[in-house]
Symmetry: C2
Subunit: 189 residues, 2 copies
């Protein structure tokens, strides 16, 4: 009874996330991941440089897409909204179909200080890249820095809601509300 087999990348990612959650990131080997996915180590290394890459392989793609969306946005509104809209488009494309995988990935990262620092480094690089993209759109450097940081903050707030058990709204739905919450919190006087 052959069962339907999803893509090797998905199977390896699922197997890795299961094992990281069960026994910790450090204690999991590539051999175990390949075995759980019913694939060879060679197949693993065809897709990932190492086990860390299973967690962070998406970062470059995500950054590239967000930056492109910001650069190509044709709205002339506040930079925070431009970035939040860009996040929404990219979330629909890259994250929405795998809420469960993304949430499990984050749980693994949050449980390991070293991985968390790596994740924070990726987020800082993304923030810088967004600020650069805003500058290329004519935004003044100081405002670009603040708008990029504020957008990351709204994105993190939306992400926290999105990964709550039972939550059904999409990230794209949640992002504008998070930006509004930030405006209220920051602007209240």
């Amino acid at each position: 009874m052959p069962r339907w087999k999803p893509d090797a990348v998905d199977r390896l990612q699922d197997a890795a996330l299961e094992l990281f959650a069960e026994q910790g990131f450090e204690r999991t080997t590539v051999a175990e991941i390949a075995k759980r996915a019913e694939l060879t180590q060679r197949s693993f290394f065809n897709h990932f440089a190492d086990k860390r890459e299973v967690l962070f392989g998406m970062s470059a793609k995500l950054q590239e897409e967000v930056v492109r969306e910001v650069e190509e946005a044709d709205d002339a509104g506040p930079p925070l909204d431009t970035v939040v809209r860009a996040f929404g488009v990219v979330a629909d494309k890259l994250l929405e179909q795998r809420r469960d995988v993304v949430a499990r990935r984050y749980a693994v990262i949050a449980a390991n200080p070293e991985l968390l620092e790596r994740e924070l480094g990726k987020n800082a690089a993304l923030t810088d890249a967004i600020a650069d993209a805003l500058r290329r759109r004519g935004c003044e450097p100081g405002a670009a820095f603040l708008a990029a940081g504020a957008a990351m903050l709204a994105q993190q707030a939306a992400f926290r809601t999105w990964t709550r058990p039972g939550e059904t709204r999409t990230l794209r739905d949640l992002l504008p509300a998070a930006a509004e919450d930030l405006r209220t919190t920051v602007g209240a006087s």
Copy 2:
């Protein structure tokens, strides 16, 4: 001709920052730091667990003081302003007299991805601790998360200005303006 000798901690810190800037963090040994400071390695280890501690030893103290200022603040204004004021008080106490050391420390960290990730981890811990303190003051969790993140962003913007060559205003002076800039950037529509 004996010259005046500042505290061992200051001398070790100065020597370490000089060497990190000259030859990189990784390549600098505790033996070299002690020698440059005209002290023994034993004296170094009386004050620091390792060379990383020279860079991050202040983080715990800074977090403790900021959290206490937030908890003890008697104003009832927006949480962003409460935190920004707390940063100002602590900056006067811990950072203002050593602008040069703080700026050199940051340059060393920014030049080393591993140290930068560590710094980002410390900042994330500080943000969480501030959000917790705001919650203890009765702030709703979502607003506490956003206000703490926004305050960190304003603090980073103020810090960038403060460490510019020739800048003479204090961090405490610069912080409210940075918070205002954030309000303008985020609120503009």
